[in-house]
Amino acid sequence: MAIRRQVLKGALGLSLAAALGSAAFAQDAAKVGLILPMTGPFASTGKQIDAAVKLFLAQNGAVFGGKKIEIILKDDTGNADTTRRLAQELVVNDKVAVLAGFGLTPLALAAAQVATQAKVPEVVMAAATATITEASPYIVRTSFTLPQASEPMADWALKNNIKKVFTVVTDYGPGIDAETSFANKFKAGGGTVESVRVPLRNPDFAPFLQRASEAKPDALFVFVPSGIGAQFMKQFVERGLDKAGVKLIGPGDVVDDDILESIGDVAIGAITTHHYSVAHDSAANKAFVTAFKAANGGMRPNFMAVAGYDGMRVIAEALKKTNGNTDGDALVAAMKGLSLESPRGPILIDPDTRDIVQNIYVRKTEKKDGELFNVEFAIIPMVKDPVKAAKKQ
């Protein structure tokens, strides 16, 4: 009997302490569950975003609207089932106010249902398939959508006397998004398009590029996830496509700033459209790049990093606006319509779609002071995601 009483006492004490503890926390902490692929083939995405999130908090302090932001970092290894479980555990056990991160489309979609059910905002910092924000009313995106980056490419190509384009994209959500949005726009403008899709797993592009070279296009439109961009560029040159006068165009993933140096000179001359280049000419960006490099041993920030940085900022601004109220609906409402000056230029969270509206830049890969950069030479201001814009009409 004595033992039981003691156990009871202990249990009571524990639960009391827990209750007090969580109450104390609730007053001054807002937990953010950051789910990223820190291992596996997409680890570089995770590392960039994680570094950017840390940088933001180091620069701006962690207290916003009276709440101290606490980051709980979880590795989902790029596996959607794990993402889903981690999201659920973060919501149920850690009582996070916001879920953030999400390196790939399937991962973002896997957590969508949790966000809806738990009424917790899901800030997507990387995944770029257009439809993601429709999966839950609690999803807010700070990265970009592939149609957003690909359609301006079609306009540029049409204006620059490119009539025939061969597209090579990786066969999964974002790749198909890039291909269809580009092809539709380009065909509507009078161009002709031929397409192949490369399986996600096989990095030997030879047969696909052989087809491309036999089609003798004016330009080759390419989307591959950033890691295998280098492989593609080398084989592009090996096939002699550059010498045959075929321009390389596409959204900026293939000449990702993070790996541009290792791709080497073969990247020079590629024309890409994207929302961020490390060479973007603004004071805000220079400060961002310098701080990021200093904090990460000289690693360049890429478009993933800037999305992570802005994502944290969106969360921080929302907390300020709600005065520290961590209710999911209030936070999402506060995020809608947020307008910020980011290192990439002005950005806006579209109040209707919760997707990002931003400038798309046309860039050319060049060598400057012995380093390779994507140098911006034209701006298409404040582009909305064209897929959702078209649905509305």
Binding site: D81, V92, A110, A112, G173
Partner: protein, 333 residues
């Protein structure tokens, strides 16, 4: 002759009797529901993995068929249950049965491939089949959602009463119940003349054939049943996460489940379940302090295990089972 029959019958009946350790095991599994309310999601995954490993045990442990592609049936079941729910029939039990039928049928269809041939051919063929399925699921995006995964699955409450919640309460109890029921069936089957004949084939196919057991028929049947079990695990996975991704057909699923079964030890039905607990526990703890490199530690564990540790662990388990039955359920917590 009848004397022999009697002895066989007696021994089968003896093995059908419940050992006290088994009862303790299941009580602990049920008790964990109240004991670890924060880990229901993880426990749900354990229950599903345990069912998947149980299914592999049926062919590997009892029939001696090695497979590197058991995830094929897990994936089929998951997609079958997911698609059924997506198209408006969200009853979980219906989905479960449907998944088992689909996977079982696929198992039956592919059984001629594995009935013949040696270990190496079996490994290759099973691996090839799962790779083909993975590719089909990836390419047939209009049906499966491709690499984005199958979206928009809504699952009705179990038996119309218990809705799936965020805490995983329903999920765990549902998965555990399915595991238990299917385990009972498997237990009865393996302690029947059918189970005996499988073991005879495993130990010596020629001798089994000579004593009147038709090996290919029995193996095909075992393979079909195991496939249906794997399909059930897939259905549980799809229903409790309300999501199916290409990952269910990935190579590592097949490798993991094999690992799970080997940890627990094949051939006595509990191996897969004990293995699932150990595996998930290891994965969770290792991943907690070195999230990046848990694969390394699991690899090291495997290597050491095969080199040295197996006899130690299994010897220990057997000792528990025979001498200290009331302790042997401990593995579950």
């Amino acid at each position: 002759m009848s004397h022999l029959q009697d002895r066989v019958r007696a021994s089968l009946q003896a093995s059908r009797r419940w050992h006290i350790a088994e009862i303790v095991f299941w009580l602990i599994a049920l008790g964990s529901f109240w004991a670890f309310p924060r880990h229901l999601l993880l426990m749900n995954e354990i229950a599903i993995l345990a069912l998947f490993a149980l299914s592999l045990d049926l062919i590997l442990g009892f029939a001696g068929i090695v497979s590197l592609g058991h995830a094929a049936f897990l994936g089929l079941g998951a997609y079958a249950a997911g698609l059924l729910a997506k198209n408006g029939m969200g009853d979980p039990v219906l989905g479960l049965v449907f998944a088992m039928v689909v996977s079982g049928f696929a198992g039956l269809l592919s059984s001629p491939l594995i009935v013949k041939g040696n270990d190496l051919t079996r490994l290759m063929v099973t691996l090839g089949v799962v790779l083909i399925l993975h590719e089909i699921a990836n390419s047939w995006a209009s049906l499966t959602g491709g690499a984005d995964g199958l979206q928009g699955i809504t699952i009705n409450p179990v038996l119309g009463l218990f809705a799936f919640d965020l805490f995983g309460k329903t999920a765990y109890l549902y998965s555990l119940s399915v595991l238990f029921v299917l385990f009972l069936v498997a237990r009865r089957m393996m302690n029947s003349p059918f189970g005996l004949s499988l073991r005879a084939i495993r130990d010596n196919q020629l001798r089994a054939a000579a004593s009147g057991v038709p090996p290919s028929q029995r193996l095909a049947l075992a393979y079909t049943i195991a496939a249906a079990y794997a399909g059930a695990a897939g259905a549980l996975l799809a229903q409790t996460s309300q999501f199916v991704s290409l990952d269910v057909l990935d190579f590592h699923r097949s490798a993991d489940v094999m690992l799970v079964l080997i940890i627990g030890g094949p051939g006595y039905l509990y191996g897969g379940m004990i293995g699932a607990v150990v595996f998930k526990f290891l994965q969770d703890t290792i991943a907690a302090f070195t999230p990046q490199y848990w694969m390394f530690w699991i690899g090291l564990f495997l290597v050491l295990f095969v080199l040295r540790g197996r006899s130690l662990i299994h010897g220990g388990v057997k000792l528990f089972m025979t001498r200290l039955p009331w302790l042997s359920g401990r593995g579950r917590s």
